[in-house]
Structure formats: structure tokens, C-alpha cells
Symmetry: C2
Subunit: 210 residues, 2 copies
DNA sequence: TGTACATCAGTGAACGCGCGTTCACTGATGTAC
DNA sequence: TGTACATCAGTGAACGCGCGTTCACTGATGTAC
């Protein structure tokens, strides 16, 4: 009867998923302090309210948890970027603003990615580098659709895309750890810099295509 | 007599300094693997060939060693930049090439700085951020001496300087962990991007100075 | 130059602690009939 | 619907290990006379 009156009763699967979320979220919180490499299985379990040995019901090892965190972060980024690409003729400043708005919801996740991008194990670093390469490649495709740029060789498009992506990522790193009142300035600076790059592209003389 | 024939006999001070160097270099090597936060005092001592307790003859704590490493790295960078500023009218490509040449000698040091820039304790992060701000400010001064830019407001100069510094730093991060054969391509890409930024600056309309 | 004493980098035993991992277990949830 | 059994998330004791730090020490180097 209680079962019918309310949705309070969780299935075993829902319970397990909730604990798994607690492990993931707890790890993100802890990793924000000292970095993932400095965390212990026992404190992660503690942060999720379970006994150390129960950790193994969810992940085979700390490494597997690390990989999961990268995958989650990356998935989040992909979703954000898909949203972004839906309005391809948006103004440059809108695009940048939208990007930071996405980041603002998930500081923990993005600061994890920023941290582990250079700081993590080689497995994590490679996974993140690979994803950033995909993002750059997508931007190359987007840029190649712009009338002025459609005659550029791929190398030059990649040069520009890489510059834009790394500029934005660099400011995301600042953004996630900045106090709220400094954030608008960071966004505006990013917009200014991307605009400067866009001006540079406008007077760039692309190499002849081979 | 042996004393007069050779320089093999070290003073106590020289011996101590040699052990200290061994601690610093050993830590850089170990930190390249897993990051500074994941290292233990005992393995650092082991890497320097001393017993754990002897560590305290050189540093009060791991934190103090970390701070020392940042200071060393930063000192190295300052020396490199001072060299760079001696030839202020060098071509842009020469300047970038020179920067990477400096980095090439000390991969361990620079990869430590790159890692701890976002990955370390907040003390290390702040120390590195502070130094990078100084570097940006010096570039602002250099830029303000260029005829075309001498009427720009400081904000715009900072925008450009920040963009250039972060682009170069970003590629230094790639450079230090890249295999030797990929390095020239990274340097060329950096030159291309800085050139693109320079073009952007050339057609930038600075805001009126207040 | 020789001697007696001070300095101090490095030693090694010892400590209590948190670690990752094993194992047999419990008891609530889920399933088959 | 009720019962008997299976599943499995979480428990708790136990292990051996490397950790940071204390302490009293050693013996080579340095210094004062």
C-alpha cells in the first residue's frame, strides 16, 4: 500500500545508481582540493557514505573511476557543443557566452578536466587530449563553412581552430576557480580575444592548397 | 697531499648542496610521472640516495620543497625572458623559436610548472599564476613600445598580451611531452598562431582611452 | 703543525596510522512457481 | 496471493605495507688554540 501511495520505495538498481552517483560526485568534490592522484579509495568511499570494500561493487579500481569521470565530463561537453552547433549563425559573442553558461552549471566537472588535462595519469591525459582534438576538428568543419574561409587549406583552418579552442579552454580554467564577481570580466576578455583572432583570420593569407 | 693534487675533496657545504640538488632533481623526475601531490617524502629521499629522516636537513616539509621547485622554475623562466628582451626588435618567429629552445633544455622543470599550474595545491597554483601575470605585464610594456600600438589603452594591450602568453604556454605544454620529431611542427604552429594574433592586432580598433 | 672540541649531514630503530585488498557475512530486494 | 530460494549492495574483521615523524646516534669535516 505504501508502495502504491508514494514513489519513496527505490528498487535495488536505483539504490545502486544513487550510491554510484555519490561516489562520482564525492570524488569530484575531493579532487577539486588536491587532484585525483592524491585521493585514496577509503576517503572516496567515506565521502559516499559506504564502507571501503563496497567501492568494488561499483568500480574495479580507482583508475576505472578516473576514466569514468573523464567520460562523464566529456559527455557533458559534447552535449553542450551539440547545443551550440544548432545555431550556427549565432554571433561570436553569443557563442562564447553560451559556452561559459554551460560551464557555470558544472564547475566541479570542468575543473576536474582542467586539472587532469596536464596533471593526471597518462591514461587520463590522453583521453582528454583525444576529446579536445575532436572538438577542434568539429570547429574546423564549422569554420570551413564560412564563405570567406571555404578556400583555406585544412592546415590553416586547424591553426585557427586550435587557437580559438585553446584560448577558450584557458579562460574556462580561470573561470571555474574565479569568484563569481570576476566571472563576467573573464567572459568579456575571452570574447575580445576571440574577436581579435577573427580579425587576424580576416587578413590572413592562406598558403596555396597543395 | 691528495687535497693539493685534485679537487675531489668536497667541503661539507658542497656535499650538502649536492644532496639538495639530488632531492630537487629526483622530485622533478618523479613528479613527471604522477604529479607532485602523489609523491611521498620517503620515495623522494630514496631517489636522492638518503634515508627519509635526512630529508629534514634540507627542507622543513614537502610543501617547502614544492615551493622551492616553483621558485626554481620561475627563476629559470625569468632568466630566459631577460635574454629574450635583450633583442627587442627580433623577428616574431625568432622570438618564439628562442623561447622553445630555452624550454628544450629543461623539460622536467617546465613540465612540472605546466602540471602544477592547474593541478597542484592552491599555494603552488597561486605562485605560478602570480609569475605568469608578471610575464604578461612585461609583454604589455614591450607591446606598448611598438609604434602602431603606443596609443592603445592598457586594457587592450593586456588583452593581446594575455592571448599571446597563453597561446605560447599552451604549446609549451604540448612541446615538453611530445616526441622530438613532433616538436618542430609544434613550434611552427605556435609561430603561425602568434602571427595570426599579430594580424588581428593590426586591424583591431582600440577603445578610446578614458 | 698537532690536538681537542664543535658542528652537523646522514643513520637506523621505533611509533602509530591510513592505506588497498581478501574474505566470509548479512539482510533486504527480486524472482520463480 | 504466498512461499521458498537467489541475488547482491553493503558490512566488518583482518592482513601486511609504506607512510611521516621522533629520537638518540655516528663519524667525518671544520674550527680554535
Amino acid at each position: 500500500m505504501l508502495n502504491e501511495m508514494s514513489e519513496q520505495v527505490e528498487t535495488r538498481i536505483e539504490r545502486k545508481e544513487r550510491t554510484r552517483r555519490a561516489l562520482v560526485e564525492g570524488t569530484l568534490t575531493l579532487a577539486a582540493e588536491r587532484g585525483f592522484a592524491a585521493l585514496s579509495l577509503r576517503e572516496i568511499a567515506r565521502s559516499a557514505g559506504i564502507v571501503p570494500t563496497a567501492f568494488y561493487r561499483h568500480f574495479e579500481s580507482l583508475d576505472e573511476l578516473g576514466t569514468t569521470l573523464v567520460d562523464e565530463g566529456v559527455r557533458q561537453m559534447r552535449l553542450a557543443l551539440r547545443e551550440l552547433r544548432r545555431t550556427p549563425d549565432a554571433r561570436l559573442s553569443e557563442t562564447v557566452r553560451f559556452t561559459f553558461a554551460q560551464v557555470a552549471g558544472r564547475e566541479d566537472l570542468y575543473s576536474f578536466l582542467i586539472r587532469e588535462r596536464h596533471g593526471g595519469s597518462s591514461a587520463l591525459r590522453e583521453a582528454i587530449a583525444f576529446e579536445m582534438q575532436l572538438i577542434t576538428r568539429e570547429l574546423v568543419v564549422d569554420l570551413s563553412r564560412i564563405p570567406l574561409l571555404d578556400t583555406w587549406p585544412t592546415d590553416d583552418l586547424e591553426l585557427a581552430a586550435d587557437l580559438i579552442v585553446s584560448t577558450v579552454v584557458d579562460h574556462i580554467a580561470e573561470f571555474v576557480s574565479a569568484p563569481l564577481r570576476e566571472r563576467p570580466a573573464i567572459v568579456e576578455r575571452t570574447i575580445g580575444q576571440v574577436r581579435m583572432v577573427a580579425l587576424g583570420m580576416a587578413s590572413w593569407h592562406p598558403r596555396a592548397t597543395h
